[in-house]
C-alpha cells in the first residue's frame, strides 16, 4: 500500500468526522480535549502494537498476509457501508474525567474492528512506523475537530463522515482486489 493510500485508509477507518459526533463534550458543545488526547494516544499505541505483532499473529493463525488483506478489505467494506447508513454512532455512557479517553473515545469509537484489521494488514506490508504515523494523522484530524460546535458545522461534519465512510468502502474493495492479486 502506498503511503498516501495508507493515510487515506486510516483516516477512513478511524473516521474523525464520524467519531466527532459521539465523543464527550463540554457544556459549550466543544469536544473535551483531554479525553481526545488520551484516546488518540491509545489509538496510535494500539495500532503500533498490532502492527508490531502482525507477523507473529498471522503466523499463529496460519494466515498469509496476502490473504489477511482480503479479510481486512471485507471488514472495511462492511464497516464503511454500516457507517454510511448510520452516520452518527450511538452515544455511549462515559467514564469519568480523563478515563473517558479510554471509554468511549479509544474504544469503541476510534479503535474499531476496521482499524484493528487495517493495523494488522498495514503492519505486515508497511511496517510499524508507517502504520502508527497514518493513525496519528487520523488522530490529528479528530483534534482539529475538537472546537466544532453549532448546528451547521455539525451537519457538515456528519456529511464529511459519510464521505469518509464511502471512502472506506472503496479502500476495502481495493484491499480485497490487491489481496487477490498478491503473490
Amino acid at each position: 500500500m502506498s503511503s498516501a493510500l495508507l493515510v487515506v485508509a486510516f483516516l477512513a477507518a478511524a473516521n474523525p468526522f464520524r467519531s466527532r459526533g459521539s465523543i464527550p463534550e463540554e457544556a459549550s458543545g466543544r469536544a473535551r480535549l483531554v479525553p481526545v488526547l488520551v484516546g488518540g494516544a491509545l489509538l496510535i499505541g494500539s495500532v503500533a502494537a498490532l502492527a508490531w505483532w502482525s507477523g507473529p499473529m498471522l503466523r499463529a493463525l496460519q494466515i498469509t498476509p496476502e490473504t489477511f488483506k482480503i479479510a481486512a478489505g471485507f471488514v472495511a467494506v462492511l464497516a464503511g457501508g454500516y457507517a454510511f447508513v448510520v452516520p452518527t454512532p450511538s452515544t455511549e455512557p462515559e467514564l469519568a474525567g480523563w478515563r473517558a479517553g479510554v471509554w468511549p473515545v479509544w474504544y469503541p469509537r476510534l479503535f474499531a474492528p476496521e482499524v484493528m484489521a487495517l493495523a494488522v494488514t498495514a503492519g505486515t506490508g508497511n511496517g510499524v512506523a508507517a502504520s502508527a504515523g497514518a493513525a496519528a494523522v487520523a488522530v490529528g484530524g479528530l483534534l482539529a475537530l475538537v472546537p466544532v460546535r453549532g448546528q451547521v458545522a455539525r451537519r457538515l461534519v456528519v456529511w464529511l463522515g459519510r464521505i469518509l465512510s464511502a471512502a472506506l468502502v472503496v479502500v476495502g474493495i481495493w484491499l480485497t482486489i490487491d489481496g487477490i492479486r498478491d503473490v
Binding site: L61, T64, A71, E92, R181, D182, V183
Partner: protein, 389 residues
C-alpha cells in the same frame, strides 16, 4: 456501561469468528521434504505407467466407489500424458517413464496427417492445436533430455502446423478441418499450449523463427485474448506461464513480464484458497471439498513455471519468495492427499488407486499429469531450502 461494553465485545468476538471461519480459515501447509516429493512423483508416474495399454493408450479414469474404469478417452489429455512422462524422465531419469511416454508417442506417430507443407497428429475425428501443441512440447522435452534427434523432421512439421493454426492477430484456431482448414473457434487452453510448444521449438531449434512465432500468440494472450474470447475475467493459464518461463530471454519484453506477474497472482489466490480447504465440518460449507487434483496441479505447475522465470529475470525477483512459499505449500498438500499403498490396500483394485489423487472418489489421467508437473517444479525449490539457499 458494562452492558454496552459487553455488547461491543460480543459483536467484536462474533464478527472475528465469522471472518475467521468464512473469510480467512487457516491456510494449512503440511511439512514436506524433497525426498517425499520425489517419492510422490514416482508413485504417480507409476499409476500412469501401469495404465499403458498395448494400443499405446493410457488408463483414462477410475471410479473407486463404483470400481469402474472409465471407458472415455481424450486425445489432448493423451498428449498431456506423453508430455508429463517425458518431464518425469527429464527430472528423474526414470526409464519406466521414458518407456511409457514412448508408448503414447508411438501411438500418436501412427496417426499423423502429412499435408505436404506441414504434419499434424490426427487421431480419428480430430486435428487439434491443443493436442498437437502438447505432443510437440513432449517431443521437445524428450529431445532435450535424450539428445535423440530421430523425430526432428516430424517436430518441424508439427511446428509448421501450429503456425498454420495461428491467425494474424496471434490467436489460435482450436481445430483444423479438411476442406476449411483452421476453423474460426478458440478453445480454453489450446492457445497457451500452442505458444508453449513453439517456445520449446525455439529452444531446440534456435534461429529458425519459432520464438518469434510464439511471441505473436503470447502477445495475443497478454493483450486481447480474454476480451476477444468473451471471458469476464483473466484466464489463469498455466500453459501461458510455461511459455513465458521458457521464452528466450531477449524476447521477454516488459508487458509479457507484467502478464507473468498477474498470472502469479491468480495462481497464488487459487493455491491459498486450496490450502484453506479441509473438506469437513463447517469448513466444508464455506470452502467445499478439496479441489480437483488437476485444478490444484495446474495452479501449482503454473506457479512452478513462474518460479523459474522469477529466479531467472531480476524484474520479477520480488515475487520469488511468495511464489516459493505457494509451491512448497502445494507440494505438501498434494503429497498429503496422494493415495498411499496402505490406503489403497483395501480397495477393489489397489493398483488403480495407489499413487493417484482422487476427487470425491474419482481420478482421471490429468489429475496425475498436472500434479506431477507441479511436484517436479517444487523439487528444486525444496532442495534449495533444504540446502539453506
Amino acid at each position: 456501561m458494562r452492558r454496552r461494553l459487553a455488547l461491543h465485545l460480543s459483536v467484536l468476538v462474533v464478527g472475528a469468528a465469522v471472518v475467521r471461519v468464512a473469510v480467512v480459515p487457516a491456510e494449512v501447509c503440511p511439512p514436506v521434504t524433497s525426498g517425499e516429493v520425489r517419492a510422490a512423483v514416482d508413485a504417480a508416474a507409476g499409476w500412469l505407467e501401469r495404465g499403458v495399454q498395448p494400443s499405446g493408450r493410457y488408463t483414462y479414469g477410475y471410479d473407486r466407489d463404483a470400481d469402474v474404469v472409465s471407458p472415455d478417452y481424450n486425445e489432448v489429455r493423451h498428449a498431456g500424458l506423453v508430455m508429463v512422462l517425458y518431464q518425469a524422465f527429464a527430472a528423474t531419469s526414470s526409464s519406466e517413464a521414458l518407456r511409457a511416454g514412448d508408448a503414447g508417442l508411438q501411438r500418436a506417430l501412427g496417426q499423423l496427417l502429412d499435408h505436404g507443407d506441414w504434419i499434424a497428429w490426427a487421431p480419428p475425428g480430430e486435428v487439434t492445436s491443443g493436442g498437437n501443441g502438447l505432443l510437440l512440447a513432449g517431443m521437445a522435452i524428450r529431445r532435450a533430455a535424450t539428445g535423440d534427434t530421430t523425430h526432428d523432421g516430424i517436430m518441424r512439421g508439427i511446428g509448421r502446423f501450429l503456425k498454420e493454426m495461428q491467425f494474424p492477430d496471434g490467436s489460435v484456431s482450436s481445430d483444423w478441418r479438411e476442406g476449411t482448414g483452421p476453423i474460426d473457434n478458440h478453445s480454453l487452453y489450446s492457445t497457451g499450449e500452442t505458444a508453449w510448444a513453439l517456445v520449446l521449438m525455439d529452444r531446440e531449434f534456435p534461429g529458425e523463427g519459432w520464438g518469434e512465432a510464439a511471441v505473436r500468440t503470447i502477445d495475443y494472450m497478454v493483450s486481447d485474448r480474454d476480451r476477444a474470447e468473451g471471458r469476464f475475467s483473466r484466464l489463469p493459464d498455466h500453459w501461458a506461464a510455461h511459455a513465458l518461463a521458457d521464452l528466450r530471454s531477449d524476447l521477454r519484453a516488459d508487458p509479457r513480464l507484467d502478464y507473468a506477474r498477474r498470472l502469479a497472482g491468480y495462481f497464488s489466490i487459487r493455491l491459498r484458497f486450496e490450502s484453506q480447504r479441509l473438506g469437513k465440518g463447517i469448513n466444508l460449507l464455506v470452502r467445499w471439498y478439496p479441489g480437483t487434483p488437476a485444478g490444484v496441479g495446474t495452479a501449482g505447475e503454473g506457479m512452478g513455471a513462474l518460479h523459474r522465470l522469477a529466479v531467472d529475470d531480476p524484474r520479477l525477483s520480488d515475487l520469488a519468495e511468495g511464489i516459493d512459499d505457494r509451491i512448497v505449500c502445494t507440494a505438501g498438500l498434494m503429497v498429503d492427499r496422494q493415495v498411499t499403498p496402505a490406503e489403497s490396500a483395501d480397495g477393489a483394485h489397489p493398483l488403480l488407486e495407489e499413487g493417484a489423487w482422487f476427487y470425491r472418489g474419482y481420478t482421471q489421467m490429468d489429475d496425475q499429469q498436472h500434479t506431477i508437473t507441479a511436484l517436479l517444479e517444487a523439487l528444486p525449490v525444496l532442495a534449495a531450502r533444504e540446502a539453506g539457499r
